[in-house]
Amino acid sequence: MRACIVGAGSIGSLFAAHLATLTDVVVLTRRPEHARALNDEGLRVSGRHDFTARVTAASDPSDLPDFELGIVATKATGVEPAARGLAGRFAGATMMTVQNGLGAEAIVRAHGDWPLVSAVTFMSGTKHSDSHVEYILDTPTWLGPYGETPLERVHEIAQLLVDSGLKAEALPDLLPAQWSKLIFNATVNGVAALTGLPHDAHFAAEDGPADLGHLVHELVDEGKRIAAAAGVELHDDPWEMNVLATRRGSAHSPSMLEDVEARRPTEVELINGALVREAARTGVEAPLQTAVYRLVRAREASYS
């Protein structure tokens, strides 16, 4: 058994290091020096767990050996080039996507007929270097079948993740969890990117008339109306997810905030864009989610 982790940001690194304690792991990176560092130094995990795993890494997909489980852990903007690099090979593999937002599975599907597994992950980490990731939140990853993939296969992968020391759960239908996270991310990441605030107590404050919590609440309510019109019953209430997350003590900087601060392209299309397009498809008015989507896209346009 061999697993291939495509993309070694903080989430990909956490999957790679933990799975490497059980099975062969090969990591596909974008940068050659990243692959070199992993081959030379291994992959260190600190924080909630503390160990260094041996992994094999490559930056060219044609150097990859066969594998049975592929985890596409790039950012949403990296799925397309990653899937293109895997096209035509790895017939025996099941591919799992863990991106924020909606639509990553369809992008992978366009490049091959591998069985697909949808996942959303709530774990978080911080990369300190190419070969060192700090495991911060050990909240679970949820997995569900996409298309015709048997639930049995999803259970096997979830069990493998649990055996490797991560938290994971197989669900017969991932859409409720995926949509809960979609609404949460569209709201929290969008507001964080526009205000420069990490996900802190401001997001739950509803005392004064201009407090940010009112806006966050209304954005979540719009998202819930879109989900209802799309026939999705949410797994968790995104407002409660928001309130809980702001009470954890250390404020998390959503990736969209880090992206705009570094003037990088954000995941706005697969998160906010996906939600706004679902609103249009289902005929739901979503003026505030639409405003946030337009403002973040314009913020990206201001880089040049």
Partner: protein, 304 residues
């Protein structure tokens, strides 16, 4: 005639230095910036750019030095109105006080301390170059009218408008000054924060069709709030927004709020979008987009 300019920043300086050219007018300037006050007293108040003027006037940062005045012209940033007028109100016990500030709500704040209040809207603009020296960027008209709940007498409003006009700051006394004021506040509230949140100049905001639609959404809410108060706008803010977007007008202009945000200074958002929300609430007009923008900019300020 004795006139005291309260808050002698860029706009206040345009009034103070020009009015000081008149033989029968004695001008005082109240400002908390001691180096600016000292320079004014030492060398006069100098304007360059659209007009080159040196005004001889008395500056002070001590309100107890102010003599009794016929007129006050309040030109502070909107968030300082209350403290500035509270400090200087004794000088206007028998006089009339005009606001020439941005936003809505300034006259209400002045009327808490002064019996005869003038509603003013002014379009000239400039910036402080150094203590005692202001760049005059744009000439423009001023409109004065009564603040309805505590109005100044019509002949006094005429007298102030006439003095300003003779001094080279064209001003008109009107029976209802709310139209120009709301035209300006709707223009500013619908464009400045969008520039501040996205980092885009006025022209670039307007050439993105989706973002321009957001601007229209904000304008429409502002128009509805004005209409609910029986205010007739003297021009359509949409036309002014499109006009300003032309390359030869203000395509490359960074909204003052964007300049504030880049310098991490408090913005006037409470008196722009916050003012529209407040008046909307009073008249039962929904203003959810202005409310959202207000919360986002407050969040941005909180991130510093």
């Amino acid at each position: 005639m004795r006139i005291c300019v309260v808050g002698c920043g860029a706009v206040g300086s345009l009034f103070a230095a020009n009015l000081a050219q008149l033989d029968n007018v004695e001008v005082w300037a109240y400002d908390l910036a001691q180096d600016h006050v000292d320079a004014i007293n030492r060398e006069g108040l100098r304007l360059s750019g659209a007009g080159d003027v040196v005004g001889r006037l008395r500056g002070t940062s001590d309100p107890s030095e102010l003599p009794e005045c016929d007129f006050g012209v309040v030109a502070t940033k909107a968030m300082h109105t209350s403290s500035a007028i509270a400090a200087t109100a004794a000088a206007f016990a028998n006089g009339c006080v005009a606001s020439v500030q941005n936003g809505v709500g300034n006259e209400e704040a002045i009327a808490e301390h002064v019996a005869r209040v003038i509603r003013g809207t002014t379009f000239p603009a400039g910036r402080v170059l150094e203590p005692g020296h202001v760049q005059w960027d744009v000439k423009g008209d001023t409109t004065f009218g009564p603040f309805e709940p505590r109005p100044a007498p019509a002949d006094e409003i005429e007298r102030l408008a006439d003095a300003c006009t003779r001094a080279g700051m064209p001003a008109q006394a009107v029976a209802d000054a709310r139209g120009p004021q709301w035209r300006k506040v709707i223009f500013n509230a619908s464009t400045n924060p969008v520039g501040a949140l996205t980092g885009l100049t006025h022209g670039r905001v307007c050439e993105r069709p989706d973002l321009r639609r957001l601007v229209t959404g904000l304008v429409d809410e502002g128009k509805a709030v004005a209409a609910a108060q029986g205010i007739e706008l003297d021009a359509d803010p949409e036309d002014l927004i499109d006009h300003a977007a032309k390359p030869e007008v203000a395509y490359d202009h960074k909204a003052s709020m964007l300049q504030d945000v880049e310098a991490r200074r408090p913005t006037e958002i409470d008196y722009l979008n916050g003012g529209i929300v407040r008046f909307g609430d009073e008249h039962g007009v929904p203003t959810s987009l202005n409310q959202a923008i207000w919360a986002l900019v407050k969040g941005l300020e909180a991130s510093w």
